[in-house]
């Protein structure tokens, strides 16, 4: 996609803007980003990926977690320009062809979400953790979840969802 260099009315910011090109959920994307714009705002407002949410904008709540070059990162603490050339994954990429993936299904089954505002961040944190290896105890699941904050669920459903997804993903692996 060609970045639209004339896009945006933020005239005060245009002088310090850069073109940011990256891969998002496997698709090449690009847009103009003021240098001070966070990655979260860039994903949400410039690329229209509103599933990444902002809960605190100081790196604690984890609602804005995305996966960048394989690592779970806080997109509120990164600048958009730092993602130039990177491969970024967001919640929008989790359901291939609209079909819920195993972790999303486990969340649904176990009522692991209520208001759903923090859910995207949790899904991305867990996705990154499960790629590193299985999560085999409740305590290990708590550890995986402890970098994000949910105010609705009390986490019980999420702990089950992490364990069940881990068991499913690693069922046939040594």
């Amino acid at each position: 996609m060609e970045p639209d260099l004339m896009d945006g009315q933020d005239t005060a910011d245009q002088a310090g803007a850069r073109v940011v090109s990256l891969t998002v959920n496997g698709e090449r994307r690009g847009a103009l980003a003021p240098v001070r714009m966070t990655l979260a705002d860039f994903l949400r407002h410039e690329l229209g990926l509103k599933g990444t949410h902002l809960g605190c904008e100081h790196g604690v709540c984890g609602a804005c977690t995305v996966i960048m070059n394989g690592d779970a990162v806080r997109s509120c603490l990164l600048l958009a320009v730092q993602s130039d050339g990177a491969a970024v994954e967001t919640i929008e990429g989790l359901a291939a062809d609209g079909e819920l993936g195993p972790l999303q299904q486990a969340f649904h089954r176990n009522h692991a979400l209520q208001c759903g505002f923090c859910t995207g961040g949790f899904l991305m944190s867990i996705t990154a953790a499960l790629r590193e290896g299985p999560v085999e105890t409740d305590d290990a699941a708590r550890e995986v979840l402890s970098g994000n904050i949910c105010r609705c669920t009390g986490y019980a459903g999420m702990i089950k969802a992490v364990r069940e997804t881990s068991a499913e993903l690693y069922r046939d692996r040594p």
């Binding site: 009315q9 933020d10 005239t11 005060a12 910011d13 003021p34 001070r36 714009m37 949400r44 990926l49 509103k50 599933g51 990444t52 949410h53 902002l54 809960g55 605190c56 904008e57 100081h58 604690v60 709540c61 609602a63 967001t90 919640i91 929008e92 989790l94 359901a95 609209g98 819920l100 999303q104 969340f107 649904h108 089954r109 009522h111 979400l113 209520q114 208001c115 759903g116 505002f117 923090c118 859910t119 995207g120 899904l123 699941a141 708590r142 550890e143 979840l145 402890s146 994000n148 904050i149 949910c150 105010r151 609705c152 669920t153 009390g154 986490y155 019980a156 459903g157 999420m158 702990i159």
Partner: protein
């Protein structure tokens, strides 16, 4: 005409674990939160300039530098919005309330750090914040009040210049003859407890957007609120506009509420107003720093509580005099008024005196936060129950058992008034069974033995219990509409707005059973004043018990109307119908029927200019507003085992059991979710969440680096069971489920910690019980078992 149990008719779904309809969009990043809505391309963003002082006069405001910033469309101070500058009324008031106006934005003085002073509208939030920094305000700081103790101190400065004093309201409630009872009682214990409660900390902060349609004259407001009709009504008064010209929509997804979003704020008044002035859509998304300093929270109550009892531990009298921090303005008295009547809880107490001093301070106004004044009341009562047991050398569970209201004593009149204006009358419950079941699941006797054994080895285990009664399902009413749409679907329209409770699922369940129709043909829509004219909002665990019966009745009537239409169409009057799939069929003959589409075609769509079939009533739409006679009362018991590390002050929860009674459980999956989520808030309340203000009323906890919310690592496993005592006050038997996980947690955990520390005779009188308080309690009282209080007056 009844649904019956004919072959092929759907099975009831109330009481079953139906997974949520809302989940798919939320799990795929397609939720409809306010800041995710696709607003018009010319939508501007707003940023507020807020007071840096707890209390100050505003001498001058200069906005010219801000207006010069490229991209800024407007800057508005209090002076600039004078046409709508009216006081925002208190949500719950009292005849004796000292009136201090709460204005949408400050005019000539500020009364808390965080109070809005000006708003900047610009093409982006980044630019709006840049410009807000350039507004020059000349303040003359004044002495600020940063606690109720400071507010009530003799000669204290005033939180508001010109006020009578710092007492917003002083209210006393009495039952029996407490003075005489205390004078004659064999034993009296007294203590002072302080309970700090945090903020709501919904993960989505507050948010408002507005667009004025110059063609129709309609103002559309999107508001991440718990109470859309309440907000719409407030705007209509402020702007002097007919309510139909304001359409206020709570987006389908609101990222948590927990009480603070049920209040009405100045920002909600300012944003639509400036959108009208600028003729541009304007959006304000609160950031977390603003949320810490300007969203309402609950903060601190100090209770001076006294109980009188006999040699067997039977309660004779209760007296609780407490201070409530109302903040800089009275946004509502609901929290302290609830506290006033929640203290007696599950116990038979013939003589009661509760007394409130609600104080003005120079901190952000306080509001309900999940639990809403009940955790403090329960702490006052339940902490004293443990003291009574200790004093008499009795088991704390036994002391409670002896005092419980029995199942055959309902309706039970406590002798006080509840905050809904009706006499405090418990409708139903089974308190002995809640306590018995909770202690059995905890393994109470075995833990007591283990505690004694480990004490010998120097390990500090403690067991805590707390019981509560929760007034819920409050009036005045809640409404619902049901309609057969042109496409043959049943559309249920709720006035109430959800913040994660799963209304689209729960109310489809209730509608399905009311109609005997499969859920898949029912859709639920929520929180839009343009779709249903009257409503109150989601707060006080009230919606299932109010909107639930409204949906039930509206859908029963719609079912009857659909059946009557089908009877005319099929010429089968007087026969019984049932739904089979999307067909209305004779109960006895499934071949005779009509589809919902055919029915709507006849009664709703009609044929232009052709006479309606004789006997058919046009317009298959019903509405119902359910007004409960009075509040319902949910109840529960929590029991917990903790181990305390005396060196670090760390508390580990070894076991936690919740017995919960919210009457009829509509969807066990979602009710468990409510209780477990409330429990996590209770853990935060008991052990972690505490905001600090310094002596000049400067907030010291303004990020999650200073203020701890529980993560998955802090919330222990919990065993939950339900006792179902249906409420006789509504046809579903429902009560509230949103707060029972939270209410008794601080009391139960503090009781357990004090029990663990009993070898030291240490007193835990301040909640949350953070590690420094535990270490302080031990070191302050080590070797001083005489701190036990005997009869004091």
């Amino acid at each position: 005409m009844s649904a019956g149990n004919a072959a092929g008719a759907p099975r009831p779904v109330i009481g079953t674990r139906v997974a949520r309809r809302e989940d798919y969009r939320l799990l795929t990043g397609r939720g409809k939160f306010l800041d995710d809505l696709e607003m018009p391309a010319d939508t501007c963003e707003a940023a507020f300039l807020r007071s840096p002082h707890g209390h100050a006069r505003i001498l001058s405001v200069n906005t010219s530098a801000a207006l010069d910033v490229p991209g800024v469309l407007g800057v508005f101070t209090g002076e600039d919005i004078l046409p709508m500058m009216k006081p925002l009324p208190a949500k719950v008031a009292h005849p004796d309330l000292q009136e201090i106006p709460r204005l949408p934005m400050a005019l000539d003085a500020v009364h808390y750090a965080g109070e809005p002073v000006a708003v900047v509208v610009a093409t982006s939030r980044y630019i709006a914040e840049d410009a807000a920094d350039l507004i020059e305000v000349d303040y003359e700081p004044l002495p600020a009040i940063s606690s109720t103790a400071a507010a009530l101190a003799p000669g204290a400065p005033l939180a508001h210049e010109g006020a009578r004093d710092n007492v917003a309201v002083h209210v006393t409630q009495r039952a029996g003859d407490p003075d005489q009872a205390f004078a004659a009682a064999p034993h009296v214990l007294s203590e002072t407890f302080t309970v700090v409660r945090g903020g709501g900390h919904s993960m989505e902060c507050r948010a408002v957007a507005a667009r004025f349609d110059t063609v129709t004259g309609q103002l559309v407001v999107w508001d991440a609120t718990q109470a859309p009709h309440y907000a719409r009504n407030a705007l209509a008064v402020l702007y002097d506009m007919p309510e139909d010209d304001i359409r206020l929509i709570a987006p389908p997804d609101v990222g948590g509420g927990f009480g603070p979003k049920a209040q009405f704020y100045g920002e909600e008044a300012v944003i639509p107003w400036v959108a009208m002035q600028l003729r541009k859509p304007v959006k304000w998304i609160e950031d977390r720093r603003e949320n810490f300093i300007s969203a309402m929270m609950e903060r601190t109550q100090t209770h001076r509580v006294q109980v009188a009892f006999d040699d067997d531990g039977l309660l004779i009298a209760l007296k609780d005099v407490f201070e409530h921090d109302q903040g800089a303005y009275v946004a509502g008295l609901q929290v302290p008024m609830i506290t006033l009547s929640t203290v007696p809880g599950q116990y038979k107490i013939p003589n009661i005196h509760t007394e409130l001093y609600s104080c003005f301070t120079n901190m952000v106004p306080t509001s309900s936060v999940r639990g809403a004044g009940r955790p403090q009341a329960v702490a006052a009562m339940e902490r004293m129950m443990d003291r009574v047991a200790e004093y008499l050398g009795l088991d704390p569970a036994e002391v409670r058992r002896r005092n419980l209201i029995q199942p055959d004593e309902f309706p039970y009149k406590v002798g006080l008034m509840f905050r809904d204006g009706s006499p405090l009358t418990y409708d139903s419950g089974n308190y002995p069974e809640l306590l018995r079941g909770t202690l059995e699941r905890l393994g109470y006797d075995a833990w007591r033995a283990r505690q004694a054994e480990l004490r010998g080895k120097g390990r500090l285990l403690g067991i805590g219990i707390a019981c509560y009664v929760e007034g819920c399902g409050l009036g005045p009413y809640e409404g619902a509409k049901a309609r057969l749409t042109n496409s043959g679907e049943v559309l249920v329209t709720l006035a109430a707005a959800p913040q994660g409770q799963g209304y689209e699922t729960v109310y489809a369940q209730i509608a399905a059973d009311a109609m005997g129709l499969d859920m898949s043909y029912i859709k639920v829509t929520t929180g839009d004043t343009g779709r249903i004219p009257f409503g109150q909002g989601t707060f006080a665990s009230r919606i299932t018990a109010t909107a639930g019966p409204a949906v039930l009745r509206a859908c029963q009537e719609l079912r009857d109307r659909i059946f009557a239409t089908a009877a005319v169409m099929l010429k089968t009057e007087g026969k019984n119908f049932v739904f089979r799939g999307d067909r209305v069929t004779l109960a006895e003959d499934e071949a005779t029927g009509a589809t919902l589409k055919q029915v709507t075609q006849v009664a709703n769509v009609g044929k232009h200019g052709i006479t309606l079939l004789r006997g058919v009533r046009a317009g298959l739409e019903t509405s119902s507003y359910f007004a409960p006679e009075r509040a319902a009362y949910a109840s529960g018991a929590h029991a917990v085992v903790v181990e305390v590390d005396p060196e670090t002050g760390r508390t580990e929860i070894l076991k936690y059991v919740i017995g919960h009674d919210c009457g009829t459980v509509i969807n066990p999956l979602l009710v468990d979710g409510q209780v477990l989520g409330g429990f996590a808030a209770g853990i935060g309340n008991a052990l972690y969440e505490e905001q600090f203000y310094d002596d000049t009323a400067q907030p010291q906890t303004t990020s999650y680096l200073d203020f701890s919310l529980p993560s998955a690592a802090e919330v222990p496993p919990v065993e939950l069971f339900h006792v179902q005592s249906p409420s006789p006050l509504n046809p579903l038997g429902a009560k509230g489920a949103g707060e029972g996980g939270t209410i008794p947690a601080p009391a139960a955990i503090a009781n357990a910690i004090e029990d663990a520390l009993r070898p030291f005779g240490a007193r835990i009188n301040e909640m949350p019980v953070t590690p420094p308080k535990i270490v302080g309690a031990i070191t302050g009282t080590r070797g001083n078992p005489g701190s036990r209080q005997n009869r004091s007056e």
